[in-house]
């Protein structure tokens, strides 16, 4: 079963203490950051530190994602070359457009061959944070079979658009819609931009609910204390799970009786309803809220 990416937690790549504890903070994925969190004078030391952390520390409970520097800087290609050799799960590519993804894909092909890793085993998440990247997001994802998701970078995107970034986030409504729709079409994860006020849990909950409501599948976090709130929004509620299970039961019943469709509580159950229920149950199983095949429901 594929791992969930409800939360992707940014951790600075130059902080040994944080790298040591990154895996235990409860996030589904950790993003060890070599880009914005690291100053120019520390780029090389952070790269070495992250490499050694991946080699040494047990990150088996989480997806390890490394955000490399932009490929058009001197650091980007070096980051890919050094980090990919210790086999992180995924690379997060900033300012992503088709060319960047193709370039990384090629670099990874070469490194995987040299290191004897299975081809295509290192995945890519595209960080969409430019107007061009956003408009081209379909092709960005299609640029590599490695791409498993898109992360929307709201701060840089609004800067590129020359508009103000607000707490309410109306200005990224279109971007969220676009990313969510394309990701759903191509069956990859759509990860929302972080909520930057780390002390406003109510705001975080609203912002996360907004993203979920538009179809995004997860959210990045910039502080470990944000994880619980985000997870609570993305987890199906007990009522949602119960209803989904009843829908699936009703459908099975109908199938046994040879009926094409059925109803529950007086409402018609058709394919979209069944699909949604199946998604909810699948998520419930993945989160351990209910047990899977053969187990008691």
């Amino acid at each position: 079963m594929e791992k969930l990416r409800r939360t992707m937690l940014f951790m600075p790549g130059n902080n040994p203490g944080m790298l040591q504890d990154a895996a235990i903070l409860g996030a589904d994925s950790i993003i060890l950051d070599l880009e914005d969190a690291v100053s120019l004078t520390e780029k090389d030391s952070a790269r070495i530190l992250v490499r050694e952390a991946i080699r040494t520390i047990d990150y088996s409970q989480v997806e390890v994602v490394v955000r490399v520097n932009p490929l058009d800087t001197e650091f980007g290609p070096q980051d890919v070359d050094v980090i990919a050799r210790v086999k992180p799960d995924t690379l997060l590519i900033p300012k992503a457009n088709e060319e960047e993804i193709k370039l990384v894909d090629k670099l990874l092909d070469k490194i995987e061959k040299e290191e004897g890793y299975p081809p295509g085993s290192i995945k890519i998440i595209a960080l969409i944070e430019t107007a061009l990247g956003l408009e081209n997001v379909y092709n960005v994802i299609e640029a590599s079979r490695r791409t498993v998701g898109v992360l929307l970078g709201g701060e840089d995107l609004t800067a590129d658009l020359g508009i103000e970034r607000t707490k309410e986030g109306e200005e990224i409504f279109y971007a969220r819609n676009k990313v969510a729709t394309v990701c759903r079409a191509l069956k990859v994860d759509a990860i929302d931009t972080p909520f930057t006020d780390t002390n406003d849990y109510e705001g975080l909950e609203k912002d996360t609910a907004k993203a979920k409501g538009l179809g995004l599948t997860g959210k990045s976090a910039i502080n470990p204390r944000q994880i619980e709130t985000i997870h609570s929004v993305f987890a199906p509620t007990e009522d949602e799970l119960k209803r989904a299970l009843r829908i699936l039961d009703a459908m099975e019943e109908a199938e046994k009786e040879g009926k094409g469709c059925c109803s529950l509580d007086g409402k018609m159950i058709d394919a979209p309803v069944i699909n949604r229920a199946a998604c909810t149950v699948d998520q419930g199983i993945r989160l351990g809220l209910i047990s899977g095949e053969g187990g008691a429901r």
């Binding site: 040591q20 504890d21 235990i24 903070l25 409860g26 040494t56 520390i57 204390r225 351990g288």
Partner: protein
């Protein structure tokens, strides 16, 4: 000679005397005797207020070799110990034993008195700062005696620790010696640690900066125990006495530990009507209280009491109806002081009532849950809160051993690694609290249950908590940090660690280098 924990301790320690080795938390119980007190009675019209500290010292006639005592309610804002010691040193008194319930960095001038031979003995429950380093370096002539809060009260009441003169810092005192801690510039709230000193010393002198007409109210320590009263300019710095706010930690790792600890409490079945709880003032401890509060609210449970040093956070829980009462031996912040002063359900307890094992029942015996810290834990669950990983004294039991022994569920919360060092060892450098009193260790990476608590282990197995053996937890840390080299110590004993019953649970030896 060995303790029951296998610690090698001499039969006789110079400057301490004959050693009674620790034989188990409840090996020394039964018929006990309190000592008789020698006092000087007064007649009507005798005046107790003296013009100055100098006059008081003249009257008290302090000689070489005497034991004088202080309480630590003014914590790192205390001026009284330093002022008294300065005058005594000027008078040429030598060879004093200072029995201070705790010693803080503000008491740094004590180091000079130790070096000059004015002070040759220390009896205390907790030392931090320069005095701790001086003791670790072997500067004190006799080994320091380190007790527990309950153990100190026991030692005084039994006569084992005889106090010639008790200097009682009094935030408020009246002209006939009634004292309270809730009014005055140096208000500190409860005076729980000062009670045994006042009642059992040959002479007790109240030193105050807030002298009020007779009678003072409320009265915490009353006139029948006070020989003299002296007014000075200031007994302490309020900034060092209380911290304005006590905050819950924001450290994500500490929050994970707190959350896990609370899940352990829940799984233990102790979240129930009438439950009782104690935790310290540290960020992680308060985070446990915050998590527990959520569960108590969710389950609609009302606890009987919370105890110990009291913080504003516990006061909030009292005011929200989550506990029926608080037992307060010392107040940690202004909010606690105000509540203690104004709310009758926020009750006083003396150190003896809190933790003395040789009474007809201490409050710790009624305690369900205690949250404790540790600088080191070993695979036998013994805990060290006395020395750091370098072997240098940096704390002491305080109420650690008392509450661990009395409570139904003693939880140690700690990071698995601190400053690149693993916290779980084969053997702790110093045993403060015996493993038999510790039920479970909660870290960010795993939880270890004392094998003696098979019942608790069974309950925790029903949860998703990451259970491990303590050995597995130790290996997990060592995989990241490596195994640190043992601390090199000399043979010289610099401190004797007394368990709450007065037996010797361990000794601290001089470390080769103190950085």
């Amino acid at each position: 000679m060995k303790t029951i924990l296998g610690r090698e301790i001499p039969d006789y320690i110079k400057g301490y005397g004959h050693v009674r080795p620790f034989q188990g938390a409840f090996s020394d119980v039964g018929v006990k005797t309190r000592t008789a007190v020698r006092l000087t009675s007064v007649i009507p019209n005798d005046q107790k207020v003296l013009p100055s500290l100098e006059d008081a010292l003249d009257k008290l006639n302090i000689n070489d070799g005497m034991t004088i005592s202080f309480h630590h309610h003014l914590r790192n804002g205390d001026y009284v110990l330093n002022k008294v010691m300065e005058r005594l040193a000027a008078r040429g008194v030598k060879d004093l034993t200072v029995a201070a319930s705790s010693i803080f960095p503000i008491h740094a001038p004590l180091v000079e008195h130790i070096e000059s031979g004015v002070v040759t003995g220390l009896v205390t429950n907790y030392i931090s700062g320069p005095v701790a380093e001086a003791v670790s370096k072997g500067k004190l002539k006799k080994p320091a005696i380190m007790q527990t809060h309950g153990g100190r009260a026991r030692a005084i009441e039994s006569g084992e620790l005889h106090i010639d003169v008790a200097f009682l810092a009094a935030p408020t005192a009246d002209t006939y010696g009634n004292v309270n801690g809730v009014y005055g510039d140096a208000a500190c709230g409860s005076l729980g640690y000062a009670v045994a000193d006042a009642e059992y010393a040959d002479k007790t002198i109240a030193i105050t900066d807030h002298l009020v007409p007779y009678p003072a109210y409320p009265i915490e320590i009353n006139q029948v125990f006070i020989d003299y009263i002296v007014k000075i300019d200031s007994i302490g710095d309020p900034k060092g006495i209380v911290s304005g706010t006590t905050r819950i930690t924001k450290d994500p790792v500490a929050l994970i530990i707190a959350k896990r600890a609370t899940e352990v409490i829940k799984a233990s079945g102790l979240v129930r009507e009438g439950m009782s709880f104690q935790t310290g003032a540290g960020g992680t401890s308060l985070a446990v209280a915050a998590e527990l509060k959520k569960i108590m609210q969710h389950e609609g449970v009302v606890g009987s009491f919370a105890s110990g040093g009291i913080t504003g956070y516990l006061v909030e829980m009292l005011e929200e109806g989550l506990f029926r009462s608080l037992f307060d031996v010392q107040c940690f912040d202004l909010k606690a002081i105000e509540s203690y002063r104004d709310n009758p359900t926020h009750q006083f307890m003396s150190a003896s009532m809190y933790g003395n094992p040789h009474t007809k029942g201490a409050v710790v015996n009624n305690l369900d849950i205690i949250i404790l810290g540790a600088t080191e834990i070993d695979t036998d669950f013994n805990v060290n809160v006395t020395t750091g990983s370098n072997g240098v004294i940096m704390g002491g039991s305080g109420g650690h051993s008392d509450t661990a022994a009395g409570s139904k569920l003693a939880i140690v919360v700690t990071n698995l690694m601190k400053a690149r060092l693993p916290i779980i060892k084969d053997k702790v450098i110093t045993v403060t609290t015996p493993g038999e009193s510790i039920d479970v260790v909660v870290t960010e990476r795993g939880i270890a249950v004392n094998p003696k608590r098979a019942d608790l282990l069974e309950k925790l197995k029903m949860t998703k908590l990451p259970l491990m053996t303590i050995e597995e937890l130790k290996l997990l840390a060592e995989k990241i940090t490596g195994v640190p080299k043992a601390v090199a110590t000399s043979e010289k004993i610099v401190a004797v660690i007394e368990y709450r019953d007065g037996s010797v649970i361990d000794v601290v030896r001089e470390v080769d280098s103190v950085s």
